[in-house]
């Protein structure tokens, strides 16, 4: 197990370099010049453009810019945005907000999704099962931004329970509605995955054996059925945590949550290389760690799965 973890961690290094290089190349090969764009509608002054290019190291060939960037990164310097703020500071402000939002969405989809999935999986064909199927189908077929606007209209404009947008992004209670919207799509997937998985395993030999042994139904479900049925769900949930963080762009825009999605959206628009590369690099690391955790959880859930 220990060597497996070590190997997985070592694998993360080339992935890290590869992804940062790719992101870097993509951001810097976008059409348009970020320095000229700073001047907006007005004609850019050539002398000032040249001076600014030099200031932001943009007058160098792309490979030199990458080396320069990586060199700074390893000294803990993520670079500076056009606003004059260190990118590390921008991320330190925005990531906690998005992590909180993503975790709330994650807990929501985990608890509600699993409950719905188990209920409908155990009682296939019942009213509960049909209701869950219809509900999840509706949620899957509606794009997140539509769902967000509907939630905003109903709960804020019509009922007045909440404010239409988040007034204070650090206030957890205000993040509940965006978190529910953000987690709803994944919730539908979790519920359906769990339902199918449970339905299959219910007919498995080991469940029949356990039932024949006369084990109480409660023990059969929690110790045997759930444990085996959760493996595909955990795989999904692991990668989903990363997806929630990246996918927050739309939700954060609509609810005006000042998280990483908002910052990333603006940085891409302004072609702020350091900010975009910095944020995406951190997101890549989140993905890597999440998938590592998933693989480790496999071994816990099913002792037959061995990595040595």
């Amino acid at each position: 197990m220990g060597s497996y973890v070590l190997r997985r961690v070592l694998q993360m290094i080339p992935v890290f370099f590869g992804s940062t290089l790719l992101i870097f190349l993509m951001v810097y090969s976008l059409p348009g010049d970020p320095i000229v764009a700073l001047f907006g509608d007005k004609a850019a002054d050539p002398a000032q453009v040249a001076a600014l290019r030099q200031k932001y190291y943009l007058d160098q060939p792309i490979w030199k810019q990458y080396l320069h960037y990586m060199g700074n990164l390893f000294q803990g310097d993520f670079g500076t945005s056009f606003t004059g703020r260190p990118v590390s500071e921008i991320m330190a402000d925005a990531f906690p907000v998005t992590i909180r939002l993503a975790l709330m969405a994650f807990v929501f989809e985990l608890v509600v999704g699993l409950t719905l999935g188990v209920l409908s999986g155990l009682r296939r064909g019942s009213v509960v099962d049909t209701a869950v199927l219809i509900l999840t189908l509706v949620v899957i077929s509606i794009p997140v931004f539509v769902l967000a606007y509907i939630a905003q209209t109903i709960f804020a404009t019509n009922l007045g329970w909440v404010t239409p947008t988040v007034q204070d992004s650090t206030d957890l209670s205000q993040l509940i509605l965006p978190a529910i919207v953000l987690g709803s799509l994944s919730l539908a997937f979790v519920a359906r995955l769990t339902r199918t998985s449970i339905g299959e395993n219910l007919r498995a030999d080991y469940i029949r054996t356990a039932t024949a042994k006369g084990l109480p139904r409660r023990t059969i479900i929690t110790r045997h059925l759930l444990r085996n049925s959760l493996i595909p769900v955990v795989t999904f949930l692991g990668t989903d945590l990363g997806a929630l963080m990246g996918g927050a762009i739309v939700t954060e825009g609509i609810f005006n949550v000042q998280g990483i999605g908002n910052v990333l959206y603006r940085a891409i628009n302004q072609k702020e290389g350091p900010t975009v590369v910095g944020i995406v690099t951190v997101l890549v690391i989140v993905y890597l760690v999440a998938s590592l955790l998933v693989d480790l959880l496999y071994a816990v859930l099913d002792p037959r799965i061995r990595y040595a």
């Binding site: 000229v36 606003t83 703020r85 804020a156 404010t163 239409p164 609509i254």
Partner: protein, 540 residues
């Protein structure tokens, strides 16, 4: 976000002296309730793109904050766009080339230090020097010695412009390289704000925590969330604040801001989102705002392309202009958010002359066809209109093309470029072969700004490659006029020349479509599309 990429040129704003006098800190206009001068109101904003330095803000997010924190020699009366003195007591000139500035005494920065001549001169020198990387540095190009601090290439040879001389604490002179009769109007731009002496020790730190001399002082900048300001009690301007301060709340989308406005979580906003244009007057009732802006939308032509260079092609462009049904398009497709243009200068601007486009801005299909035929027709009988697809322009470009197709038989299609930057690169790189959308938002509310900076030979924003000796001559004459009024009249004559050549077709003027919450009153907008900040009253 239709106008997100379009830069807004923001400037100082406040209401007329009459309103100040009648307001007197208590109740505002007719039928309104009492107000509390200590309460703050919130305004829709976006995270500034640059540090908060006056010469470095040229977009709405930073510009509107800077213009409230700083006050220059002059600003523009928000009710009628005319020039009024602020820190300056007088700006005298006898030859439109040397300007003698006298400052009022008693003005102080928010740190308590007095505002002196040197605060202006040093700030301008610092801003103009290339090595300080200020985006608005070219604003100082009229001043003598600019080339020394801002050479076209290489390092500056000095850090001070020879045209600026401090006489004493309240007097200094500005000497320009050529005569610019309306230079005073330029001085209202935020780049000309003074900086306190403390600025130079740490410009970067100042950009995060600015100290100004304006009606509001900086309190805090919670990045990506809000900038908080409070009114400055020792402000000596003609427009002291009738409210306790402004909270600039950052929004990513206008939709989110509008939802907040409707539920009174936001007090005043910029411009309602396009999705709300049809309904906002119903939603907000008498709190809806619909007022003119000093901005115009045009279709430009690449006169540097052989296809469009011939003098006879002017008739084709005049004909195309007459084939566009501006009244219908502004009413239906643009839902009344624009007003049909009849000149190259936007309405509400000093020197605006209605109908200066002549008959060529009137819808007349028969005349349109005839002119196009006389001019030898559109090259290939096909017109493309290049525009940026991220700016909400598709609908009207299609409508203009339909109008042209139906009324003249010329095949017309839109040519979308992925975003503003790409479209600008194509236009400034002279790779466009057909027509393209252009626009102009005033830097200062004077007709010269819409003409000299756009249509003069070699002007920085002359995207058309237009060059008319007659237009240049009349512009130069207007520049040398001995008063701003004479200069404005001179530019009206220059504008009339554009009729003959039609380098760009004026389409329509922008309007401010906005609104405010039930918490505030006395909200009016100026021609920059900004509210008269200091006049907003928060209900008690």
């Amino acid at each position: 976000m239709p106008e997100a990429t379009r830069v807004r040129w923001v400037l100082a704003a406040a209401t007329s002296v009459a309103l100040v006098a009648s307001g007197c800190g208590s109740s505002g206009g007719g039928g309104s309730s009492s107000s509390d001068a200590s309460k703050t109101f919130s305004y829709q904003s976006s995270e500034p793109q640059n540090p908060l330095q006056p010469a470095n803000a040229n977009e709405a997010g930073g510009g509107r904050i800077i213009q409230n924190l700083f006050k220059g020699l002059v600003d523009y009366d928000p009710s009628n766009a005319t020039l009024r003195m602020q820190v300056a007591d007088s700006i005298d000139t006898s030859d439109s080339q040397t300007f003698n500035v006298t400052l009022k005494s008693g003005w102080t920065f928010h740190d308590g230090t007095p505002v002196k001549s040197s605060n202006f001169v040093n700030a301008w020198n610092w801003a103009a020097t290339t090595t300080n990387n200020q985006i608005n540095s070219s604003w100082f190009s009229d001043i003598q010695g600019y080339k020394d601090v801002h050479p076209e290439s290489g390092a500056p040879t000095t850090t001070t412009m020879s045209g600026l001389t401090v006489t004493d604490d309240t007097h200094f002179t500005i000497k320009l390289t050529t005569k610019v009769s309306y230079f005073e109007y330029k001085l209202g731009y935020i780049a000309f704000s003074p900086l306190p002496d403390s600025f130079y020790s740490d410009p970067a730190g100042f950009g995060q925590k600015p100290v100004g001399n304006g009606p509001y002082q900086f309190v805090s900048w919670d990045h990506n969330a809000q900038v908080v300001t409070k009114s400055y009690p020792n402000y000596k301007g003609v427009d002291p604040a009738k409210n306790g301060g402004i909270v600039f709340k950052m929004y990513t989308t206008a939709e989110a801001a509008y939802a907040d406005l409707q539920s009174n979580n936001l007090d005043v906003m910029d411009q309602v989102p396009p999705s709300a244009l049809a309904t906002y007057k119903n939603d907000l009732g008498d709190r809806a705002i619909d007022s003119p802006q000093g901005a115009i939308q045009n279709i430009g032509f690449p006169l540097y392309q052989p296809d469009w260079a011939g003098p006879e092609k002017a008739k084709v462009r005049q004909g195309l202009s007459m084939a566009i049904d501006r009244a219908t398009i502004t009413k239906t497709v643009l839902q009344g958010s624009r007003a049909p243009a009849s000149a190259w200068v936007a309405e509400g601007v000093e020197g605006y002359k209605q109908g200066n486009c002549g008959n060529f801005c009137n819808f007349d299909p028969a005349q349109a066809k005839q002119l196009i035929t006389e001019g030898g027709g559109v090259p290939g009988n096909k017109l493309t209109i290049t525009y940026n697809a991220d700016g909400g322009h598709k609908e009207w470009v299609d409508a203009v093309c339909n109008s042209i197709r139906q009324n003249t038989g010329v095949d017309c299609v839109g040519d979308p470029k992925v975003d503003f930057k790409t479209a600008r690169a194509a236009i400034t790189g002279h790779t466009v072969t057909g027509a393209f959308r252009t626009g102009w938002v005033q830097d200062y509310p004077l007709n010269a700004n819409f003409l000299a900076d756009v249509y003069r030979t070699g002007a920085a924003s002359n995207d058309f490659g237009y060059s008319s000796p007659e237009f240049d001559k009349l512009s130069t004459q207007a520049d040398q006029a001995d008063s701003i009024q004479a200069s404005a009249t001179g530019y009206q004559q220059a504008e009339a020349v554009l009729q003959q050549d039609m380098p760009a077709i004026p389409l329509w003027y922008y309007r401010t479509n906005s609104g405010y919450s039930t918490n505030v009153q006395n909200v009016t907008f100026d021609s920059f599309g900004n509210p008269a900040w200091t006049q907003v009253e928060v209900k008690g």
